[in-house]
Symmetry: C2
Subunit: 86 residues, 2 copies
């Protein structure tokens, strides 16, 4: 497989894992229900994504910075809503 | 900051985002409730993690392969339980 095809697979992967949290955030905004969501998951996940962002800044890697900035936005929104509608 | 400190930050980040899904899977197994979880999120996320794994295999990057194999296990478990307990 040539390099550009592999790069496209990586980009599609990054896009999927980045935008996947949007439907969850939208669902909570609509229903205001978060009972079935794990608080521990969103605490650990948000901290992990924040550390990925710090890592990306430290190694000056733009794709890591961009992907994790967007994911951090969604993840922290879900976390705040989980705490708010607990 | 020296390289080993930066690497540790990256490893902690990867560990957090990998294990974060475990508490959600455990919560569902205990409660059998998934109503508040977004099906679209886990469909897109699981596909994205699968593509990350394919990407890791193609570029022969062991950390990407290991992290995404574990995350895929958790994510697909949550997806299957979401469909089962819909």
């Amino acid at each position: 497989m040539d390099v550009s095809t592999i790069t496209i697979i990586g980009l599609v992967a990054a896009t999927c894992t980045t935008i996947s949290f949007a439907p969850q955030a939208i669902k909570i905004i609509k229903t205001k229900h978060t009972k079935d969501l794990s608080l521990a998951m969103y605490l650990i996940l948000t901290m992990g994504i924040f550390l990925w962002l710090v890592y990306g800044i430290l190694i000056k890697n733009l794709p890591i910075i961009i992907a994790n900035t967007i994911t951090l936005l969604f993840s922290s929104t879900i976390l705040i809503l989980k705490i708010k509608y607990k």
